[in-house]
Amino acid sequence: MEATAKIKRTPARGLRKLLRDALAVGQLRVGVAFLILLILVAVFAPLIATHDPFALDNDMLLPPSAEHWLGTDGLGRDVFSMVVHGARTSLVIGVVAAVIAGIIGTLLGGIAGFYRGGLDRFLTETNNMFLMIPTFFLVLLIVAFFGSSIVNVILVLGLTGWVGNALLMRSQAVSLRERTFVKSAIAVGESRARILLKHIIPNGIYPIIANTTMNISAAILMESSLSFLGLGDPNIVSWGQIISHGRSYLTSGWWISASAGLAIVITVFTFYLIGDGLNRLFNPKLQTTR
């Protein structure tokens, strides 16, 4: 019974208990607090930012001051406003890409693990293929080939990041299909597709949720790396871009790269905390306080 989580997804009554248990986990408390902060910053970016992030100015390379909280970069742009707007980019790309990877991975892994046979073999071989290819270079190739719009970046990250989720879901499905309630559903007449969607995936999805939050971090880092290399979408503000730009000014304008870099660290750490907290929540054995 260890493969499935101890938390039951029950409406109302169960939800309250879930929230209570969730808040008991230290990592989740901190992580969710930061996440809320991040979301607020991303959502209200235009209101929070002090200047237009794209506005060029003559006041270049100004250190942090009362007017420019994080100083300006080599083209006179306000660093604080850029970082704030960059939050939007990162969150959107990170979350959407991770969710795409999560959905694809869950479906493919679930099908492979539940139906077995040819599909399972195909998936395993595909998995192995992906595991052999350095994902980052694959992403580079595709972006270089197809262009670097934000949509492309999201798609590429989503389409290459599903492998881990698929493996997780597959192993869940393989053990869940032997459970009595699955045989029971077959005996009652539920079709296999219905069993997959109603029983296997909902019961097996917990590790994937935790994994997906970690994937958000990974996607954000990936995007930052792409932007750093100049392969990101030039029309949007991105932390990687800022760092890339700031690379030339590391001694004269350290606050440029440092600000964006710190933002990335905080964000990645936030999602890591949430992922770890979720793991602890869903797998009580990991809770070391007992």
């Binding site: 019974m1 499935t4 039951k8 997804r9 029950t10 169960g14 459970r179 009595t180 309630f181 045989k183 029971s184 559903a185 077959i186 005996a187 009652v188 007449g189 539920e190 109603k198 029983h199 909902p202 019961n203």
Partner: protein, 345 residues
């Protein structure tokens, strides 16, 4: 209503083989056949590893037989139900051994039970289905129904869950029910109620049942006929009380003698069986040969086919005499002598 055929189920020559990695193939079910009539209860007894659970799963098509044929109301699955698998599920149902795992923990009892009705398009809307489900629950003693409908499986006891499992199976009014060790995971004080409920539900709807168990007394309580399985084969088959009180197959005899139940005299000793059981399907001759206290050389060479002895089917070359009057353990031919430890495996 058109008259339904009398023979609900006919199984013939069923074989199921499992291939364990690195080991040889194991014939979990090795040529099983029997007939079940409407409303009849067949008890299948045997120890663990005899293939009875595999047989049960084959009868409801949770597993496909490798060889052999099963006819439901005269027709095989392929002939009659391939195009309407849901109709098959309304015909044949199963109650599992583990009530704690029979239901998906994420759904409430209400969702689970009305979901079955909805799937089979019984009832015009949710309210009708809910009413039907509530009625069945209360009839079965789970009242008030609300208490159970709103609960989730982990909030109920094993006995309650098993009752609900039986109810769910009977919601579809099946003609045939397989009960796979339905009481082995329940406490003694609950087992009786579950058996009574099964018997009652089947009687009311004239549902035939195959009751699988390793508990001979439970099977005697509930079954009309008994099939004794050993290593994948049915070694004896007949009327329940007849088989239990006048066993003709040596294994049946040993099984009954070994089943220590209250009411037996303290000095009636269980039959000593020397030797260890073979793995299923490995024997060329009789599967029981290594442990049989009546064995002769030719038992090892040919496999005994079922022989009809006046309504009783026994797979043995040298079946026991009809010891109607001799209490077990004292009949000279069948008395076991305590041999020196051998270990002939």
């Amino acid at each position: 209503m058109t008259a339904r055929p009398d023979k609900v189920l006919e199984a013939e020559g069923l074989v199921k083989t499992y291939q364990a990695r690195g080991k040889s193939a194991v014939r979990a079910v090795d040529g099983v056949g029997f007939t079940l009539r409407r409303g009849e209860v067949l008890g299948v007894i045997g120890e663990s590893g005899c293939g009875k659970s595999t047989l049960g799963r084959m009868l409801v098509r949770l597993e496909e037989p490798d060889e052999g044929e099963i006819r439901y109301n005269g027709k095989t699955y392929r002939e009659a139900y391939r195009r309407d698998p849901l109709a098959f599920r309304r015909l044949v149902q199963i109650v599992f051994q583990n009530p704690f795992d029979t239901f998906d923990p994420r759904y409430s009892i209400e969702q689970i039970l009305t979901g079955v009705l909805k799937l089979h398009r019984i009832g015009r809307n949710h309210d009708e289905r809910l009413a039907l489900v509530a009625e069945r629950l209360e009839q079965a003693g789970l009242a008030p129904a609300d208490q159970y409908l709103t609960r989730y499986p982990h909030e109920l006891s094993g006995g309650q869950l098993q009752r609900i499992s039986i109810l769910r199976a009977m919601l579809l009014n099946p003609q045939f029910l397989v009960a796979d060790e339905p009481t082995s995971m329940l406490d003694a004080s609950i087992q009786a109620d579950i058996m009574n409920m099964l018997a009652e539900q089947c009687r009311e709807r004239n549902t035939a049942m195959v009751f699988i168990s390793h508990d001979i007394a439970a099977v005697r309580y509930i079954a009309d006929k008994i099939a004794v399985m050993y290593l994948g084969r049915i070694v004896e088959y007949g009327e329940a009380d007849e088989v239990l009180h006048h066993p003709r197959h040596p294994y049946t005899r040993a099984l009954i003698a070994g089943s220590l139940k209250l009411g037996r005299q303290a000095d009636a000793k269980p039959l000593k069986l020397e030797g260890e059981p073979l793995s299923a399907g490995a024997a060329a001759g009789c599967a029981f040969y290594p442990r049989c206290f009546r064995r002769r050389d030719d038992c090892r060479e040919r496999r005994p086919e079922p022989v009809d002895l006046g309504g009783r089917r026994v797979s043995c070359f040298y079946p026991l005499e009809d010891e109607a009057s001799d209490p077990p353990g004292t009949a000279p031919r069948a008395a076991a002598t305590r041999e020196s430890p051998s270990g002939t495996a």
